[in-house]
């Protein structure tokens, strides 16, 4: 089982839809512990991605993902811009020139993407950030692929791990970003960045399920 270039494009379009639907939800999560703009910023960013996609749809997956990253870097702002921008840029660089992705390619892609986020944001597991959704997802995906599971099963496990990681941010004390200034008051709220990361991974699973 592989992921095709068309599926990658469909995924990015679905992410734009999902983020539009969840714009207010993400912004509300951010209002509780941040500065109430995460949903607005991500929606603006993926609208920009939608505008750029027609220019690169006939290129390779690497170019499509790098273009997505650049569009996010130049339109999202806040911390989300550099973090998601870096995530997609590194993902694209990891699969340069490819027209389709094997499960092993996806492991490489995800690892490069998550490493990029960790480097840029200097966050560790448990800091109440998007890393709390992304890192468990990467680990679950890699483990499933190494165990020889099918791509869709591996993705299901990755998304389940991301969801669990996202929910696990609720009792955490924020140590990075604007939420960290709240100290104890950040406890009891789900991290908006972990939530958008989960939504983006879930959109990949849904796309693969619907189109294979």
């Amino acid at each position: 089982m592989i992921v095709t270039k068309d599926q990658i494009v469909l995924w990015l379009r679905r992410v734009a839809d999902v983020l539009e639907e969840n714009k207010d939800y993400l912004t509300q999560l951010d209002a509780a512990i941040g500065d109430a703009d995460h949903g607005i910023n991500m929606d603006r960013g993926f609208k920009r991605v939608l505008g750029q996609l027609p220019k690169v749809e006939d290129k390779d997956i690497g170019s499509i993902l790098k273009t997505t990253g650049m569009a996010l870097i130049s339109s999202v702002g806040g911390a989300g811009g550099p973090l998601y921008g870096t995530l997609f840029m590194r993902a694209g660089m990891a699969v340069d020139g490819k027209q389709e992705l094997t499960p092993e390619d996806l492991v490489t892609l995800l690892r490069a993407a998550v490493d990029g986020v960790v480097q840029r944001g200097k966050a560790e597991l448990g800091d109440k950030t998007m890393v709390d959704a992304l890192l468990p997802a990467l680990q679950a995906f890699q483990k499933a692929v190494e165990a020889g599971e099918d791509l869709d099963v591996a993705l299901e496990r990755a998304v389940a791990a991301a969801e669990e990681g996202m929910k696990a941010t609720i009792p955490m004390l924020a140590k990075k970003g604007r939420a960290s200034y709240l100290g104890e008051r950040s406890i009891g709220h789900q991290d908006p960045g972990a939530t958008s990361s989960y939504l983006i991974l879930k959109a990949l699973l849904d796309t693969v399920r619907e189109t294979t």
Partner: protein, 357 residues
């Protein structure tokens, strides 16, 4: 929401356009990506000083672009940091061959976007350095947070470093001076009311009629504590003493190694205020507090500084680093030496700050 805006999504652009029309002799604007730059840029042979941050803090930073201060300012969306392409394009537009200093307020988004901008400038062959401003003493437990925020000292650093660049300091000298200004400045603010981001339409936080929030940043983020409102003298004393009695503060920041082309971690420690220090005092409106109230605060601040043996040698009273229409005040004290004072006194001509020319 009652605001003098047309459409929320047009607010930043229309405000920039109006500013350009009002000050054609001083500044120009570039749209998409947005930045404000000196009308006479690039100034050949001069270090270009660039800052930026979310909109909503006006006159900072765009109002400080002009002779003797900033070469360019990059405004993001309201309370959202600008994007790297803005700083990169601004750097290319104002680079006069002597490199670019980015003055960055310590907020996670700002730091990351300016770091990416520095990496882009470096690949373009522009010598660059990023200096962080993290002066907000309200942030406790800075080890477990993103650290102290960048607030009032930013305005003073932009003035002093802009003058140093104008006087011919090279990039390393301007960066060293900027770092030193940051290490000698401390700030703390408070809010009487919240503020409303146009795109959101509702106040960022709720504050009762009889309440105030002490130790806010500049985005309506929560502060140290919420309490019943007190008199101007009591509030001034709370802020001033938190600043004056603040102990030494150590932090690790990332600066750019120009030769290696990579980030290096630097540990910096500042010293508390001491009797006999000379200071510049800024009493700043958060946007909605009238000047008359600022002078009530300044009166008490002056008294406290005298009592503590701090000599206010210069002052700035007004709205310089704001949070939209928020009522409230911030106090900044900057310990100055002769070099800093000389650059503070140097001529400046920008939309929001002008003396000596």
């Amino acid at each position: 929401m009652k605001k003098l805006i047309n459409k929320p999504e047009d607010f930043v652009r229309e405000s920039l356009e109006g500013m350009a029309l009002a000050h054609p002799d001083l500044i120009k604007i570039h749209l998409d990506p947005n930045f404000v730059y000196r009308a006479d840029a690039p100034v050949q042979g001069k270090v270009a000083v660039i800052s930026g941050g979310g909109s909503g803090h006006e006159p900072m930073h765009g109002g400080f672009v002009g002779k003797g201060m900033l070469d360019a300012a990059c405004p993001g969306e309201v309370f959202t940091s600008p994007t790297p392409d803005q700083m990169f394009e601004a750097a290319k537009a104002v680079h006069g061959g002597a490199g670019v200093l980015f003055i960055v307020k310590n907020y996670t988004g700002d730091v990351m976007n300016f770091e990416m901008a520095a990496e882009l400038a470096h690949t373009e062959g522009i010598p660059v350095q990023n200096i962080l401003i993290d002066d907000d003493v309200a942030v406790k437990d800075s080890l477990y947070t993103a650290g102290r925020r960048g607030t009032g000292t930013t305005v003073l650093a932009e003035k002093i470093c802009g003058a140093a660049a104008e006087a011919g300091y090279d990039l390393k000298q301007v960066a060293d001076l900027c770092r030193r200004v940051n290490l000698n400045g401390r700030c703390m603010g408070m809010a009487l009311t919240s503020c409303t981001v146009p795109a959101k339409g509702t106040p960022t936080f709720e504050l009762g009629d009889d309440e105030m929030e002490i130790g806010i940043g500049i985005h309506g983020e929560p502060g140290r504590e919420r309490m019943k409102i007190k008199s101007a003298d009591e509030i001034t004393e709370m802020l001033a003493l938190a600043i004056i009695e603040d102990p030494a503060y150590t932090r690790t920041v990332r600066e750019w190694d120009m030769e290696k082309g990579e980030w290096v971690e630097v540990e910096l420690t500042d010293e508390p205020f001491r009797e006999g220090d000379q200071v510049i005092a800024m009493v700043n409106s958060m946007g909605g507090t009238p000047v008359a109230e600022l002078y009530v605060v300044y009166r008490k601040l002056h008294e406290i500084c005298e009592k503590k043996g701090l000599k206010i040698v210069r002052n700035l009273v007004g709205a310089y680093i704001t949070s939209l229409e928020m009522q409230g005040v911030s106090i900044t004290l900057l310990r100055v030496d002769d070099e800093m004072l000389r650059f503070w006194d140097a001529p400046v001509h920008t939309p929001a700050l002008r003396w000596g020319m």
